[in-house]
């Protein structure tokens, strides 16, 4: 479904990565591994079309993504290493913005259950700026469930999380893969998920 063909990226004559080719079909979890500065984030930004690759193409469903970029975005949830929640709004206001932006049909009790699992229920009406880093990251990860997309692309999803949350997230990944979803994650941490495909960038 997602196919990277000979991807190369150069920044001012310096090659960040080259000859990257892999494909990700339904039900696969791919971990991009590499040391600091090996180009994990750059690769992800190239896949998501924020950066233009110097060479090579990215395909989604057999079509070049640049041809129909919004069709690709319609099937993708992208979790950055930054947190996209607005600091001035409460958790619920942020969630309703994401929900409506992605035209998701998730029900209210589903959202409540999700917040319950992540232990965020008591902060429902708290502004995001008063939450801790871990809680903001967990809030960010709820977008995976809220947006209900097929392809998940994550950059360092395990940052700032405690061990129980890491387990919940890993379980969520496994479930999504069972439901024929595709997951692409970049991380130093190697999570405990079976059928994990590791792609080494070094």
């Amino acid at each position: 479904m997602l196919l990277l063909n000979n991807l190369e990226f150069k920044r001012s004559e310096k090659t960040i990565f080259e000859n990257i080719s892999f494909s990700a079909n339904s039900g696969k979890i791919i971990l991009l591994k590499g040391s600091n500065g090996s180009g994990k984030t750059t690769l992800i930004k190239t896949i998501i079309n924020i950066l233009e690759p110097t060479n090579g193409e990215v395909f989604w469903m057999g079509e070049k993504i640049k041809k129909n970029i919004f069709n690709f975005y319609k099937n993708t949830t992208f979790i950055m290493d930054k947190t996209t929640s607005a600091a001035n709004l409460t958790i619920m206001e942020n969630i309703s913005f994401w929900k409506n932006l992605s035209l998701s049909k998730i029900k209210k009790d589903e959202v409540i259950r999700l917040l319950n699992i992540l232990e965020l229920t008591k902060y429902q009406n708290t502004k995001v700026m008063y939450l801790s880093m871990g809680e903001i990251k967990k809030l960010e990860l709820t977008r995976l469930i809220i947006e209900k997309k097929k392809l998940w692309i994550l950059d360092e999803p395990y940052n700032n999380l405690d061990s129980s949350s890491i387990e919940i997230i890993s379980q969520t990944f496994a479930d999504h893969a069972d439901k024929k979803g595709i997951i692409l994650l970049a991380s130093h941490y190697e999570p405990n998920i079976k059928d994990l495909e590791i792609f080494n960038l070094n």
Partner: protein
Amino acid sequence: MQLINKIIIFFVKEFKISIKNLSDLFTNIVFFFLSIFIFIFSIGPDKQVLSTFGIGILWALLLLSSTLSLKKYYHDDFNNGSLIIMHMGGLSYEFIAILKIISHFIFVQLPFLITIPIASLFVNLPYSKIILLLISFFIGSLVLSCLGSIAASMNLLNKRNFTLSSLIVMVFSIPVIIFSVGLAQSQENILSLLNILFAILLIFISISPWTSAVCIRLALANS
């Protein structure tokens, strides 16, 4: 239909954020009034002098106060990645820029429009001139919003010297100032000056979303 929903969602979010940041807007308005007072104190209490200089003073100060809020324009959305999320939600950068310009106009510039009648009391403007000033500010502030969009998006990666964006706005707002003040002070050829102001507005509306989108793309690629 989906697009309209997304537009509504965007404005609901902007409205909520600006309600929670009301103190910022209030500070800008206080800045505006305080600078008027400083002008009045430095010129002296001569009513005749004040009513001749009044419109120029008000317009210059409105311009300065509106450059104060430039830092808020795209910075928050850029720094926390909301711009990418909105883009991936199906809005192109150009469209996001248009929406941002409209929301800046509504939530930052229009409150100034309400304070202008009060401010013109202090500089002893006659009633007929107040209405002309309001009309010229209504058009001129939209131009300032467009300019602000360009300046703020150009400075997204600029972390140190933010005065630069104010400079861009001030340089390009010179024609707006000339014709707005001309409109408010003229007696006969109001319509032709209004047309020129509209022309300036149309030029900037047609330029700024695309310029801003290019700048946002560049900033995202280099961040």
